[in-house]
Symmetry: C2
């Protein structure tokens, strides 16, 4: 069974609801691209020839509100395409949207904050996208934003003291030795293949999948990327705490962030190797971090990693750890803020062959 991760629920100060504006901006940045690829490449009339309902899934939706914006965007583009395609009188299709995240996700917050004017029937689907979630050929469109960087598990080698990829004194591959990066990359390739096989079953032939992935341009080192900085701030803070005896070194050595940020070339090769999808578009686009301070980025990090961190270290460690991470952010703010300007994500549009 894959590990389950979850964003902070509810709507308190450290919630994902209040600390996910960078993901929102990332989604808003590709709104036009998603519209265009739907209008240009999706054969809506064919997809709706056997059904008056258009089935959409958002994988790794978290607790809202960003997923509502993405789904509204997809639905409006599909409707427009359908109106453009049909010359005779036709019935406007109905939409069913499945919001998916792990079973630990705060679906209660998601469900009570669904937009009152939504133009679709909403359902929540609990479970890891590193596995099947839906019946065969039951979806017409799959979207996933800022979620595929989660690995199904920490690569075993990086927490194995007998391995060349042992990542002692670090919690991520940013700035680590090459073997560590390779172990992460291999785990991502394995997870991505499982993900693609599951989606190939669930999506009808001709259906579209749009993925928005935290990612970096080919040949760039993660350490120069804002996420790399943040992971280092987290790691350094944790090592400081280990030196002071606030956490044990064993606990630190057995912990690594299950996060991987691929480059477009890597994703393109994995899609090709899988073979079930044609690539309609793949490109690096700017991310939404430019307006954020280091402090706000650390809050975003906490909304995403607090669940995971508490599970490993116990919740009593978390406040101190993130306070120190925030301090590191302040200390390195000038380098961090210039890295922010270069922040990127990868947009990929695929069609099921």
């Amino acid at each position: 069974m894959p590990e389950t991760y979850w964003m902070n629920g509810g709507d308190s100060n450290y919630s994902y609801v209040l600390n996910s504006t960078m993901q929102r901006d990332g989604s808003v940045n590709v709104k036009g691209m998603i519209e265009k690829v739907i209008l240009d490449r999706l054969d809506v009339t064919h997809l709706l020839s056997n059904s008056n309902t258009f089935y959409v899934a958002d994988l790794g939706c978290s607790v809202g509100p960003n997923c509502f914006i993405s789904m509204q965007n997809v639905i409006e583009a599909v409707k427009r395409k359908y109106q453009m395609s049909k010359t005779e009188a036709y019935k406007v299709p109905e939409f069913q949207v499945f919001f998916n995240d792990t079973s630990c996700n705060d679906f209660n917050t998601l469900f009570t904050s669904l937009p009152s004017q939504k133009q679709y029937f909403a359902a929540g689907v609990p479970g890891s996208f590193h596995g099947r979630l839906f019946p065969e050929s039951s979806l017409h469109f799959i979207h996933s934003a800022h979620a595929l960087h989660w690995l199904s598990e920490i690569p075993k080698e990086v927490v194995d003291s007998n391995s060349a990829a042992w990542n002692k004194g670090r919690i991520h591959y940013a700035g680590a030795n090459e073997q560590v990066g390779k172990a992460y990359s291999a785990q991502f390739a394995k997870d991505f293949e499982v993900f693609m096989n599951a989606r190939a079953k669930e999506l009808v032939v001709g259906g579209m999948m749009t993925l928005l992935v935290f990612g970096i341009a080919d040949g760039i080192s993660l350490s120069a990327f804002p996420a790399g900085f943040l992971f280092n701030f987290l790691g350094w803070s944790l090592m400081d705490m280990a030196k002071e005896g606030l956490v044990s070194e064993d606990m630190v050595d057995s912990f690594n962030l299950p996060i991987y940020t691929p480059c477009p070339k890597e994703i393109g090769e994995l899609v090709g190797r899988n073979g079930s999808f044609s690539i309609e578009r793949i490109e690096i686009t700017p991310f939404g971090w430019t307006e954020l301070s280091a402090h706000s980025c650390v809050l975003h990090l906490r909304a995403a990693f607090e669940g995971l961190s508490s599970k490993h270290f116990g919740s009593e460690v978390v406040d101190e750890w993130f306070a120190r991470t925030d301090e590191k952010g302040r200390e390195f703010s000038s380098q961090f803020e210039s890295a922010l300007k270069e922040a990127t994500q990868i947009f990929i549009a695929l069609i099921r062959k």
Copy 2:
């Protein structure tokens, strides 16, 4: 918008999870009837001629675990019928189950307690069943157990001091004047029609709906029914508290339980008037209360009504109110326990015409 009600979430002492064994027993009592009506009357081969997925919904599922037992039962019967119907080699269908309840329901508890060995893809659907929840013709089977007694709202007349149906000093129609009962009955008829119209849209032609409803035999007074006793215990306790100034009389007069328990004749007439379904089976069956004490019944009542009660009176009133209701249960335990032996529910199986 209909009011939303919810069962107590989580798994603490007053949770629905721990205080819903009577509903479980009620469902177990009709297991054989559901199997039989599926085997005798459901044309599974026809329903699966255009789809390899069989879509099922459980309306008013609450937080589990009873709904998991019901869904497993339905799925096993459908599989058996399908195996019996097909003479040549065939592909076993996949099942998608939609668990529905209002958006205030504790879906987090539901999702984290899904059976690990389930034979279906699970989804949660938030929203009131007094309205549309699913796309047109998208379901093959609908089940609803111990949920249709919830009215979409308190009948307006019973809280209107200018109406002949004003229910001063009571919180339910059990033992009240005839006008109050008529107002409740009219509200139920209105809600049931809305429910049936929505389900007629959602269920494919030939699809089946099984309903299990808190209900009493034709011609029996609710006051002689265990639920009638319990509602009176609640009402008397509240009036005692009003006399002692612990709640205001206005608050009591503006509160009535939005609960109605129909008889088979009434349900049969409403289904006939609606016209979209044929009645395959309708009958009164024993309910599962016989093994329960008055104290346990009051805990069941609290699991169901605490949300509603807290919303109206404030949570500080609830402990005292249910302690006094428990006391009434003890006081009248001999009458209550003989009523328990007569406890009934209505089982209805319908097919979409």
